[in-house]
Symmetry: C2
Subunit: 371 residues, 2 copies
């Protein structure tokens, strides 16, 4: 039999539309159906304060207006929009958390205004266009989860020409960091795992007469990927950051296309090390602004930062360590290009490709998963 | 719009055949594609010794014979079958670990005998029937993962009438346990989580004017499910076991049907407490035997036990704690009925339903997930 054809059979089951949806539900949506997960996000006070303040400080934009909440979750943003005076709020939510959102809408006395609709953003049908789209769609380094696609599709279809997006602008940052305790620990975990593997292959030969060593290299790559070449959720302190971070992307959410939101094309960055420092690697994070649109600007602008200077958020920062640190003298320039690209196998996940040169020297190229 | 219909739309994406396969791949198969996961299983020496000894002590059954290895993983069982003298071994493996299996087959000098085929068990085409089917299909409490279905389908289609299954028999056990340190810790984690929730709902009201308390009961159920009413992987010591365990199911793998292997129908059990003991809950585990078939019995029988008496296996035991322990005098009889049933949403996962009465008194009914 033809094994190559069979191999293709096994992988093509991931490609059909219904099959894609089912895998996406299993991989992505299902976790959002737990109250525990919702609570984690609701206990993120930086996140909560930013949205609450953006809505309540700009009540005039909500009073008597129609609002769409994309990915309503437990319905908190929809309830706030109603409390701010909206005439009608459509909260759309794909997972079964929608039924809890309905309970909260009722219990908070806004069921005459808020309608929770269990649907994907793409399949929704509304009786009219809306004045404001509010949504909390951001993932690690802004784009992970790829939920922004759905928000943009909803915007293109349902937002009035003079409407406004909440949030309205997003910015992605890349910074150099010094966090040797953590880097050394990760590199040590990787070394320990490889030591384990070597003991394991010895035992497999000795006890069971199986030579496993031809897989040494693959296991090494698998473990290096896991321990080092994967983005790590980290709560950095401001002092871990070395020099000024580079902006690697800006999005105007009122106007950007789905293409704009796919990822970060190869983008140059440059960071000057201001004092003698050991560079452990890089960190990525984002900010979003609530500024309204040019037709309908916010009276009060609000910013939500997930950077090391802003204190805890559940997004933290994504950290990318180098296997070997760079010992940098003052005025050392770290420069290169960074790209953030969707994974082929799972469109909600990304890879980060980064090249690094020191003072214009040879470029080193690294590829990280953002799992 | 009709929200109820939309709700059904969202869930029916899980039901189509291709969609089922895609979700199943995302939920189940993909983890087996990592060498790290394979290594965990290969480092389980009780598991390895049982299979190795079953094959090598019964070489006569393999010499010159055709063998099928269902779910070959890294190909170790296939290589052993070849080392024991098989004329031909078909190792079928659905995930990409198949390519590593091919490397190992080559490196261990058996590529003239072993053919690794990347396919599902259901889709395989072989040129002939086989003398032996070897497979390591067992999950927690034997049936979790529901891989046995695929093994039985392969057996019905490809095993000769006088062939033999390796392993050939399986037995499921339920025991009463005393492990108060662990039970009290889990109940404490649950209580702490509910205390956290209560602080959280206070803050949501105080800071953000949202009443979350209508979800108290649901969160309570979600957390009780998570911390208490879920099977827990545990490495019990023999002294944790109280009295004699009950056998709740036996399977002859040479003859059983897929129906037989679906789960455990309501089955009575009875355990007598031999000395004063605090009963924390129950534990489930299994043994499998390599005895061959009546037409083709093993010269040497081998048993693989995953019970508390047998030392570490990666299966451990699944423990089901009660929220309140039972303080039992000597000769107390714990009796009731136990059932193990596939979950509706994911056929590879199970629920355990158990009723418990003490000395014939009132029955208490509990439902656990085996996640």
């Amino acid at each position: 039999m033809d094994n190559i054809e069979q191999n293709e059979d096994a992988s093509t089951i991931m490609r059909g539309t219904e099959a894609d949806k089912a895998a996406d539900y299993a991989n992505y949506f299902c976790s959002y159906a737990y109250l525990y997960h919702q609570k984690q996000m609701l206990m993120d006070h930086n996140r909560m304060r930013a949205y609450h303040s953006a809505i309540m400080s700009n009540r005039k934009m909500f009073e008597g207006k129609v609002v769409l909440d994309v990915g309503a979750g437990s319905g908190v943003l929809s309830i706030w929009a109603a409390q701010a005076g909206a005439a009608k709020v459509y909260g759309i939510e794909f997972t079964d958390i929608a039924k809890h959102a309905r309970v909260l809408v009722e219990a908070n006395g806004v069921s005459d205004v808020v309608e929770i609709i269990q649907s994907s953003a793409e399949d929704i049908q509304l009786p009219c266009k809306v004045d404001i789209i509010i949504s909390e769609w951001m993932g690690y380094i802004l784009l992970r989860e790829s939920m922004l696609d759905s928000v943009i599709r909803a915007r293109n279809k349902w937002l009035k020409p003079d409407g406004a997006m909440f949030p309205s602008h997003a910015t992605m940052f890349l910074g150099a960091i010094s966090f040797e305790e953590d880097r050394v620990a990760k590199v040590g975990d990787y070394a320990a795992s490889m030591h384990d593997w070597s003991q394991f292959t010895d035992e497999m030969k000795k006890y069971y007469n199986i030579n496993m060593t031809p897989l040494d290299d693959h296991f090494d790559r698998e473990q290096a990927q896991y321990y080092i070449y994967s983005g790590l959720w980290t709560e950095l302190k401001p002092e871990h950051l070395i020099g000024q971070p580079s902006i690697i992307k800006r999005l105007d959410l009122n106007t950007c296309t789905i293409e704009d939101a796919l990822g970060v094309d190869k983008t140059p960055y440059s960071i000057t090390v201001p004092f003698p420092a050991t560079i452990s690697g890089f960190a990525g994070w984002f900010t979003v602004d609530f500024a309204g649109s040019s037709a309908n600007p916010c009276q009060k602008r609000v910013t939500l930062s997930t950077g090391p200077e802003g204190g805890y958020t559940h997004w933290g920062q994504q950290v990318f360590y180098m296997q070997n640190a760079i010992v940098a003298a003052p005025e050392t320039v770290l420069a290169g290009e960074v790209a953030m690209v969707r994974q082929d196998e799972n469109k909600r996940l990304y890879n980060l490709d980064i090249s690094i040169s020191t003072n214009g020297g040879e470029k080193n190229q690294y590829k990280y998963e953002i799992p």
